[in-house]
Structures are given as C-alpha cells and as structure tokens.
Amino acid sequence: MSTAPGVNDFALKLANVNGTGSASANGLLMQSIFRMGVPVSGKNLFPSNIQGLPTWYEIRVNGAGHTARSLEYHLMVAMNAQTYAQDVASVASGGYVLYDSSWPLDDDLIREDVNYLGVPLAAMCREHFTKNRERILMKNVAYAGALVALLDIDLDIVSTLLAETFAKNEALRESNQRALRLGYDVARENFPCPLPFRVEARGENQDSILVDGNTAIALGCLYAGATVVGWYPITPATAVMDNFIALCKRYRRVEVAPGEWENNYCVIQAEDEIAAIGMVLGASWAGARAFTSTAGPGISLMNELLGLAYYTEIPAVVVDVQRVGPSTGMPTRTQQGDLLACAYASHGDTRHIIVIPADPHEAFEFAVAAFDLAERFQTPVFVLSDLDIGMNDWIVPSLTWDDSFVPNRGRVLHDEDLANMREFFRYAHEDDDHVTARTLPGSDEKGAYFIRGSGHDRFGRYTEESGAYLQVVDRLRAKHASAAHHVPAPLEVRRPGSRVGLVTMGSCDRAVREAIELLAEQGVDCDYLRVRAFPFADSIRDFVDSHESCFVIEQNRDAQLKSLLTVELSLTPASMTSILDYGGFPLSASTVVEAVLAHQEVH
C-alpha cells in the first residue's frame, strides 16, 4: 500500500535520545504545521526511562485529514547513533535521512535507495554556543530549522511560536531563534529546498485546537465540578493530575481576604491506588464530585473497592489511561487491554459503566458525562482512555461549554425532602432507571443510614436472607441495563450498499475511518460503528446483524470488545471477525485494510 508522498501528504520520523530536549523541537514543528492550517498529527513513542534511551517522534501531514499513525516514513531525522541501523532501514524507498554529519556515517548504514542529508549539527552548535547545556539543546532546534527549510514550513510561524514559548526568557529566546536560523540556512545552502513533499498552508484548523487527552480530561473534570481527588502517580495517567492541579490553581482559587487565597478543591496524592479510590468513595459518599486517574495496575489494585462502590451504590469516576499490559508491561506504549478488567471489575457479580472516548475532544465531553452518569446511577464510571489519546497532541474541534449546563447530581434527598417523608430507606422506592434516593452525611437524622458492603436489604439494613439480598442485586442489574439508554450512543457512519461493517472503539477511530476510505478505493464499501460506552446500546446488535460480515477492530490480544459484545448483546461470535493490533503503537489504517482484504480474499 505504498503511496508516493506529496504536498501535504507525507510522514516523518525523528529518532532521538530521551532526556536531551528533543520533544520541544519536535512539538514545535508539529505545532507550526498546525498553525499553517494543515491537518497533522504527532505521535511520541518514548521509553519508560528518564534519560539516555531511544525515543521517537512521528509527524504525519495529511491534507485529507487522515491523522492516524502512518507506517511509511518519507523522512527520517536520525539523531540517535544507537538506533541508526533500524532507523535508516525504516525509511521508505526514495525517502530521506537527515543525520548529524559531525561524525561520518558507517558504511553499512548507506542505502542505495535513500537520500542522505548530512547536517553537522553538533559541530555547528559547538561553534555557535558556549554552554554545554545549550550545545545539547540547540542541536534539536537546529535540525528543526533544517526541516523548516526542507519542508517549506512557514519560518515566521515557527519564529513566532518560539517567541511565545520563551516570552519571558530573552536569552533562551535569542539562542533558540539563532539555532533555528542556523539549521534553516544550512539546509537552504546545501539541499534542494523544498523537498518534493512539503507543507502548503491551508485554512483548515481554524476551529480546531491541538491538545492531548490527559489535558482534555483534566479540563472535563474541572468543568464538571470535581472537587476531591485521590490519586497515585502512574504513567501514562500522571499528567491528568498535573493538568488538573494546574487548572485548579488557575481557576479554583478564591480570594477570601485581600491576598489570601483558598482552594475550591482538594487533591491528595495517596499512598497507593487502593487509598486513592478509597478517598474517592469517601468523598463521593460525603457528596462531592470526586475522581481518580490511573492505569492498568491501579485498576487491578482498586478491584475490591470498586466492588464496594458498586454494591453500596456510591458514585465514583475512574479515569483509566490504558498502557500495555499485562502486569507492569510497557508503561509508555498504548493498548486497549483493560476493557474487560473495567467492565466486570471486582469479585462476585459486578458490572460497571464505561465511557470510551476516541480523541481528546470526546475525552473532555465524556469526562463531564462520567460525573453525571456516576451520580445519576450511583455507581463507578470508568473513562477508558489510552496512552495514544492521553499523551499525544491531537487536532480536534475546539471545545465549547454550555453555560446553562445543569449537572445531574442524581437522586439526593436534602433536609427539605426528608421533612416531607415519613421514613427514609436507602435502597427502596426505585425510579424508572432502578435508582433509589440517597442522603448525604450531615443531613437530618431522619436521613441517616449505615452504608455497608455486606448483605443488605432494600432498607439498607444488614441481611443474610436470600429474598432481601436478591431484591437489591437484581435491581442493580436492572439499573446497569438502564444506563445503556443514558451513556454516549454508538456512532455510526453508513455508506450506501455496504455489506461489511467495521466495529471499533476509542483511539482506533481515525485509523479505521481512513481504512474505510482506502477500502472503498479498493471496491470494498464498509459501514462504521464506534462503540462509545458500556452497557451497550441495542443498536450495536442491529448493526452487526445487518451486515454480511463484521470486523471488530481493537488493540488487545484477547478480543475483549468482541467478547464483551458477544456476551452482553447475545451475539453469535461467528458473526464477527477480530482485527487485533496490540504491539503498543497507535493503530494505522494499513493494518486494518490489509486484514479486511486478506479476510475477503479467503471468503
């Protein structure tokens, strides 16, 4: 499926050593292209390490808006001698390798079908900068400068960005601008600029922003009114909290006396994930909107208390930024391997609500929705994100907030309500969604009850009687089923006459949509359905039933989405074929296209 690169249609990969400051230079390039109004994406493939190991950054420029990961690289910036061999090998035939020519390249790194662009970056920086730190850092900006020239990126935009970034530090601003220019000039002087593939300004990104999912989720939690957080650091979820705290500092401080500020939030770095979810339960029980964010290992540890929350009906929002499992796995690689672990978390009969955003925009909206769902259904709600969404910058439509939004705090009885009641029973008088009313600590004595994870009846009293126990757990099952009508509905895109259906979830979205276009070019028309929540809508069953063949595309080994669909919608397993991609990198369209075509051929 190799295609020739062209104007606004190519991909580059930058190979660096982590901890050397390359991420900023790479981000600078990607953001500049964004500002030129051209669809672009950046994928940071970094190691679970602080300094000294290989790290890559991939930039894909695609005027048609396909910003899923591409597996073809037309230009490689090879800045890491450790990985020279594999980096050179991975350039598409006819492509380019930009390398630091301060040292000669080994002979065996020379490929006949590839063009080499040697820039003496280290030497240049040694010459132009004096401090050791600057010499290392500026190499990155210098290669960025060369790329600006080679790819026809708007130099003014890059300059402006640098100026904004270093607005408060003149020295740094100046040396960055100098390094940029150095690289730019050396490229213009030595290479045919621009290359055949290049960037051409468009007007595309006007209503878009460039944001990562962890930031977006933090924003969602801020806007939803979350006040209490218990959390424990873990890659790739940590930045949700870094961002949430930073946002709170900006928007949630109250001046209680002149110059005296207090916080409208309380973020507690817990001793572990069990404590983190424990704090969330305590806070939610007490009536606050509370959440935690974690990754797989944290979900495993939270299992017991998630069951407690389910059974006692306490709201909780848990953000799971998935990484590669099992166990510690690959903490800086992406996967969708926690779906089952979240759906049925905890021993005994338990089932939870999950919302599954596809990109940072949805991540923001679903984070807000999660709090409403949690309080409406008085139960844990997972926001199932992943490392690709969470830690990469995505172009998404700008976020908007409806200032008339009224949160759904669910059925909570306050003193006024209690005053009109003869007696309050925690788990009695369910509504149409099988939800019963709760009271909050501090409310009138009439509303006081003793919440417990042990067997209880509809009055909230301890019980070991079958009938009384069944009443409660059967209602819980019905309540969960009801939630299917309130969670984000699946997203369907149909093409007339399609007999093939592609079902997917989360961050696979863009790759699958691109695949649909590529498949159409090959004469295979496909409909698209993206599952956006659990419990599942019945329309998913209809979708599967109404297609001759259905593919379920997901990023885990065990076909977790397909399994969950099978069980929960009573689908015939044979009606779906899995496409599984779980090596730890964001999905690309070609993987899907190849799998679908291969299957079509066989059948």
């Binding site: 806007y223 949630r252 404590a275 424990g278 806070a283 007490a286 409806d402 600590p441 501090g442």
Partner: protein
C-alpha cells in the same frame, strides 16, 4: 433470643445535654456481639462522650472497616451517617470524606487486625496527613470475626484459641504513632469507662488525627483453658466440637485504673494485664521523654493508659491543602466551573 440475653448497652440515667437530648439519642441498633465483648463497652463510652459533648447526631459521621469492632458503629448514634467499608480501608475512605465535607465530627472505629495488618499503610498515612478525626482501635490482640487468629498487636507468647502461641513481635500503635509524627495519642481500656469517656472527648476535641488505642478483650477467642490445637478430623482431641461453636456468656471486665500504681486486671483467658495511668507531671508534649517512659513501662510489663502524647496546632489535612472553609461537597457548579469564556480564552494556548 431465649438462650442468651444480650445486655443493652448500659446507659446513664436520662439526663439532658446542652442540646436537650438524652443518651437515648446517642444509641444505635442492638449489638450482635458476644455477651461480654469489650467492644460493647467502647460503644457505650462513645455514645456517652458525644452525649456529654452535646454534639448533634447529624453532625457526626462514623466509619469503620471490617471486623467485630468495625460492626460497632451500627450500635451507637443512629442519627449519624455511617459507613461500614472494607477491611483495612477506613482511614483512606475517611480521608476522602473529610476532604469533601469538613463540617462534621468524624469518628472511625477499627480493630487491631483492620488497622495494623491490612490497613497499616492507610492508617500510617492518615496520621501523617493529620486528618481531622478520632480513630479508635478496639484492640483485642486477635481477629475476632474470623475466629481468633493472632493479630499484629498480639504479644509474643500469647496463645490464640486455635494455633500456636504468637512469635512475631507486636506493633504498638502508640509507638508507631510517635514514629510517624502523630499529634494525639492516647490509650484506654474498655473496662474503665471513667477514663475512656474523657479520652474520647479529648480526641474529638483535638484538631487533627487523634489515635485512641483501647484495649478491649475478646471473650470468645481468649477463653480457652490449655491447649486446643487439635482439629476435627483427628479426634484425638477432647472437646473441640463444642469449643468451636459454643461461646460462653462472660461478664464484661471492669476495672478502674488509678493513677498511682499499676492495676492488675485479669482477662477472660486468665492472663493478667497491668494497666497504669500516667503519673502526675507526665509531659505528653515531649516526644523523647514519652518514648523513654513507654519503653520503661513496657519493660515492666505494664500498659500505660491516658493521654500519652499531644501536639496541638499542627496543620491538618485542610491546612496542608489550603481548602476553603466551606465544605467542598456544599459547593455548586456555579462556584466551580470557569464557564465558556474562560474555556475559549484558555484554548488560545492550544493553537
């Protein structure tokens, strides 16, 4: 129940407190613990302390983990909200609740297993955070609810009903608290209500984490005479069948701890504990001297009781977090949501 008459929690005469409430307003459901269990005495002392403090039931929140001890919040102050949570997790859950709703008096009740085994990490970190609550360990040296295994507070050589004598050195919650920078450490005995009630009141009054270690004997799993280590299928044993399912009614142990000398109290298992109230002039604010005193008494085989350590004025969780004085749970979205204009401005930096 014809066979076992459960004593109602003993009550003071029906006096009224400053709120015009009687002790009945501080009662809970009927206890289902074993007759004579020390925990019931602690329950009664808690009721009495809050009654005497004239705190409205609705202004109290009671939390616990899992264990016989952790069942007890059902047995006091019906009008207070309660949370019988999971084994060992109460300290973390209470921390979250307190972060959200600072307007209440929080009392946590736990056991030595709940707090010092599975919950040790959470307890320790709640101490560090100086979470504003009263935390009572009803300490009986065994896992009562799971039928008598040794707990981490069991002394070396103490012999559980089943199994071998304990060989692992105990954790003394008071020593632990000192090492972790606790701000309020006290020890009481379930059998001495005169001392216990004021200690609970002091703990409630303390701003910060008040850790109260209450020695509270378990009648069921400390009542064996001699060895009962044999098991059902061996049949070499004597009365195993009966011992495992027969719980004799025991009287509660009561003893007033005087301040001048150590008082010997015979426990249900026949062992003797020596309780000593703190001497006159004891300085609970000097950690080094407190540590030395505890070590000295321990060497004598005595268990000092009273307010062992106190540091007032230390920042609590809310001080550390800089939270507003209005409870976070009481804030509305209007107080919290920056609105669309702010969102649009913010997004300028996302371009």
């Amino acid at each position: 129940m014809p066979s076992i008459a459960k004593p109602r929690i003993p009550l003071a005469p029906l006096a009224h407190n400053d709120l015009g409430l009687t002790i009945r307003d501080y009662e809970g459901a009927m206890s289902t613990l074993c007759a004579g269990c020390g925990h019931d005495s602690v329950t009664a002392a808690i009721s009495l302390a809050f009654f005497e403090l004239s705190i409205r039931p609705r202004d109290i929140a009671k939390l616990s983990g899992i264990g016989c001890s952790s069942k007890t919040p059902t047995y006091f102050i019906n009008g207070a909200h309660g949370f019988n949570s999971a084994h060992g997790r109460m300290a973390a859950i209470a921390t979250g609740a307190i972060a959200a709703q600072r307007g209440l008096h929080y009392i946590g009740v736990s056991g030595d297993g709940d707090s010092l085994s599975i919950g040790l990490g959470h307890l320790s970190h709640a101490i560090r955070r100086n979470v504003d609550m009263t935390y009572i360990i009803e300490n009986n040296g065994v896992y009562g609810l799971t039928k008598g295994q040794v707990s981490p507070s069991a002394d070396v050589g103490s012999r559980p009903k089943k199994g071998d004598p304990n060989v692992v050195p105990p954790i003394d919650p008071m020593e632990l608290g000192l090492a972790l920078g606790a701000t309020f450490l006290a020890r009481g005995f379930s059998g001495d209500k005169d001392q216990l009630v004021p200690l609970i009141k002091a703990a409630v009054a303390h701003r910060g984490f008040a850790l109260l270690d209450v020695i509270s004997p378990c009648v069921s799993f400390n009542d064996h005479e001699g060895s009962t280590k044999s098991y059902r299928f061996f049949r070499e044993h004597e009365v195993h069948e009966i011992e495992t399912d027969f719980v004799p009614q025991r009287a509660e142990i009561r003893s007033k701890i005087s301040s001048d000398s150590a008082r010997a109290v015979t426990m249900h298992d026949g062992s003797v504990m020596y309780f000593r109230a703190l001497p006159e002039g004891y300085n609970p604010t000097d950690r080094v001297s407190v540590e030395a005193y505890l070590a000295e008494r321990k060497a004598m085989g005595e268990v000092p009781t009273g307010l062992l350590f106190l540091r007032e004025g230390a920042p609590d969780l809310h001080d550390m977090s800089g939270t507003v004085s209005r409870p976070l749970a009481d804030l509305d979205l209007a107080d919290l949501c920056p609105g669309n204009d702010a969102l649009q401005r913010l997004q300028e930096s996302f371009r």
